[in-house]
């Protein structure tokens, strides 16, 4: 029997989370290189349509793991669905997107099967029959090639943006869909989640901004936010921030850019003293031009910057404000 790669796609409230396509793209690439068979699974209640949607891609089979008790999502419910399924199917590799939901259950699932989970991988390498996953370490300052020890199943999750969801390969014909009715024992699910909600309405919509000046912890003190505001004002742009700045209350939450804040795509994103952690980068990498000022030449933000200024922001920003004003006045 051929080795199987199983992708567990993510659905929330009956909709496929698009980031699942990225995982399938990655899995298709691994399948092409290794010759392993690619299958997918979706877990929930009434997920037949999602399974069909996935079956349109180049996969050999899609399983719909069904039970009314799988909605809403709980880690206990997903464990009850996936653990016996994986024990029975014995896939070689189980791949998932590194979403908040997957972070919530995947470590429990892998540990429950006594196996390792390589979390938040940004890519893979297949050389000489060895499969390794690349992941970021030290907040993106280093990358590591990580291999599995012991036998399968091997679990890995892919970081948002690791592969391109729009490059997922379509199938020649729809793959078969098999429904697996899951038995979730009474009383097994302990958490009782309520419906997701958004906190008070955002007062600022950064998604429409053409120019964004964003500050990070490099700004050091609350009072220094002022110079960033002056620069934003001179440029006619909006001020934004990384999470620690909003956590500290130096700027309101609705100024936060990143995975737990807003996702922006301005013409210009000027990052001042931001290191470039992935959770920030996912929120701004769509900017047309990224200019980063950071005193650390190795800061991960420079990997995605179009223009890198290595230096002290407190030396560079004041003359920059003056030059911008001059240019605008001229």
């Amino acid at each position: 029997m051929a080795d199987i790669i199983l992708v567990v796609v993510e659905q929330r409230e009956g909709k496929l989370n698009r980031v699942s396509w990225e995982t399938i793209t990655g899995a298709q690439a691994i399948a092409a290189e290794t010759g392993w068979t690619l299958e997918a699974a979706v877990v929930g209640s009434g997920v037949g349509d999602i399974a069909k949607e996935v079956a349109g891609k180049k996969v050999s089979k899609v399983y719909a793991l069904e039970s009314a008790k799988l909605e809403p999502y709980t880690p206990d419910g997903f464990m009850a669905a996936l653990k016996p399924f994986i024990e029975q199917k014995q896939p070689k590799l189980v791949l998932m997107p590194h979403t908040y939901q997957v972070r919530d259950f995947a470590p429990k699932l892998a540990a429950g099967l006594d196996r390792a989970l390589i979390s938040d991988a940004v890519g893979y390498k297949y050389e000489g029959g060895n499969l390794r996953f690349t992941r970021q370490m030290f907040q993106g300052k280093f990358a590591a090639d990580v291999s599995f020890v012991g036998g399968p199943p091997y679990f890995a999750t892919f970081q948002n943006g690791a592969f391109r969801g729009d490059q997922v390969v379509q199938g020649d014909a729809a793959a078969p869909v098999e429904t697996v009715n899951v038995d979730v024992a009474e009383g097994l699910v302990r958490n009782r989640p309520e419906a997701p909600f958004v906190e008070a309405k955002q007062a600022v919509d950064l998604t429409q901004a053409e120019i964004i000046v964003a500050v990070g912890r490099g700004i050091k003190e609350q009072k220094n936010i002022e110079i960033a505001k002056q620069l934003a004002e001179a440029l006619g742009g909006e001020i934004a921030a990384s999470r620690p700045i909003c956590d500290a209350g130096w700027l309101p939450m609705d100024r936060q850019v990143g995975s737990s804040g807003q996702t922006v795509a301005p013409k210009l994103y000027l990052a001042l003293g931001i290191s470039g952690a992935i959770q920030h980068v996912v929120g701004m990498k769509g900017a047309r031009t990224i200019i980063a000022i950071n005193k650390d030449a190795e800061a991960p933000i420079f990997e995605i910057a179009d223009v890198a200024v290595v230096g002290n922001l407190f030396d560079i920003v004041p003359p920059l404000i003056e030059e911008v004003k001059k240019a605008k006045g001229a």
């Binding site: 470590p107 429950g112 390792a116 030290f138 090639d145 302990r190 120019i211 996702t263 003359p319 240019a327």
Partner: protein, 303 residues
């Protein structure tokens, strides 16, 4: 106590739940800590015993260098507490202030990691456990969770808090696996914790500005997100008192037998390859400012 499953047991289906007041919900004596530790006061609130898992990681601004083998960083850097763990500790202290009880902190790592525990004791934690040894540094999340589970097997906590992930490995797994090993329910990326009739009600952060409340029974494990509260500083009195608070050491040998082989291995650590062409601007600040404005005006046409 009977609430623990055998370490390494992979069934994880054991469900032991306790209602919030672990002691009978009568009026009983609760000990307060620190300055008032010799005094007893009557209080109606239930006591809650919380363990906080904390990790020492390289300081955010520390310039990191690879070791010769390219397998790990050179250890001659400055360290600090992993940021979300600091928030986890703060949350535990606040819960204790509300409900009474005890806050215990635990870490694993070489002698230097004791600093994290000392700081936590100075901020108000009651006692500390240090799994001390170089061997702990290279453990994967599964083994670290096993080591913690072993070290606390004779304790009975109501809540365990961990940071949601560490700034070094960034596994985001240790807490969840620890909950699984103990047979406890867990919830991740927590931004608020309240007591409820049947246990606790927590606010989970979801992606893109969404949140969700979850009711769960105790005991439970929560992974805490940065920003859940405002951090306190240690006071001078706190720092003084910390010296007399109990700090238990557990050696690598004491937990070794409950650990397995690491099931994932770092083959190589390296500086990531750049994927984008980046133009580097250099020179004195005034000159850089001019170059930038020239670019903004003539290339990007935003001014």
């Amino acid at each position: 106590m009977s609430g623990y499953i055998r370490i390494g047991d992979s069934r994880f289906e054991t469900h032991i739940t306790r209602p919030f007041p672990i002691l009978p919900p009568l009026i009983y004596t609760c000990r307060f800590h620190g300055m008032r530790s010799k005094r007893s006061v009557k209080c109606k609130e239930p006591l809650v015993k919380i363990l906080v898992c904390m990790k020492q990681v390289p300081q955010k601004d520390a310039p990191l260098k690879l070791n010769e083998g390219g397998t790990w960083i050179r250890e001659d850097v400055s360290y600090e507490v992993n940021e979300p763990d600091a928030y986890a500790l703060e949350e535990a202290l606040r819960q204790r202030e509300k409900h009474g009880g005890e806050v215990v902190v635990i870490t694993s790592g070489p002698a230097r990691a004791q600093q994290v525990l000392r700081e936590a004791l100075a901020k108000g934690a009651d006692r500390a456990i240090h799994l001390e040894g170089d061997g702990f540094v290279t453990l994967d999340a599964f083994n670290t969770a096993k080591a913690f589970a072993t070290a606390i097997k004779d304790e009975s906590f109501d809540l365990i808090f961990t940071g949601l992930q560490s700034d070094d490995y960034g596994f985001a797994q240790t807490g969840v696996i620890l909950a699984a090993l103990l047979g406890w329910p867990h919830a991740t990326i927590i931004m608020q914790i309240e007591k409820s009739d049947s246990g606790i009600r927590v606010k989970r952060e979801l992606e893109a500005g969404f949140f969700q409340f979850v009711d769960m029974p105790l005991p439970a494990l929560l992974t805490i997100q940065s920003g859940i509260n405002k951090l306190r500083y240690a006071t001078l009195i706190g720092i003084k008192q910390a010296k007399n608070k109990p700090l238990k050491k557990v050696s690598f040998d004491e937990v070794k037998l409950t650990l397995g082989e690491n099931l994932q291995k770092i083959e190589k650590l390296y500086i990531p390859q750049k994927t984008k062409k980046t133009e580097v601007l250099e020179g004195p600040p005034g000159e850089i400012a001019k170059k930038l404005v020239d670019k903004l005006r003539n290339e990007l046409r935003v001014i």
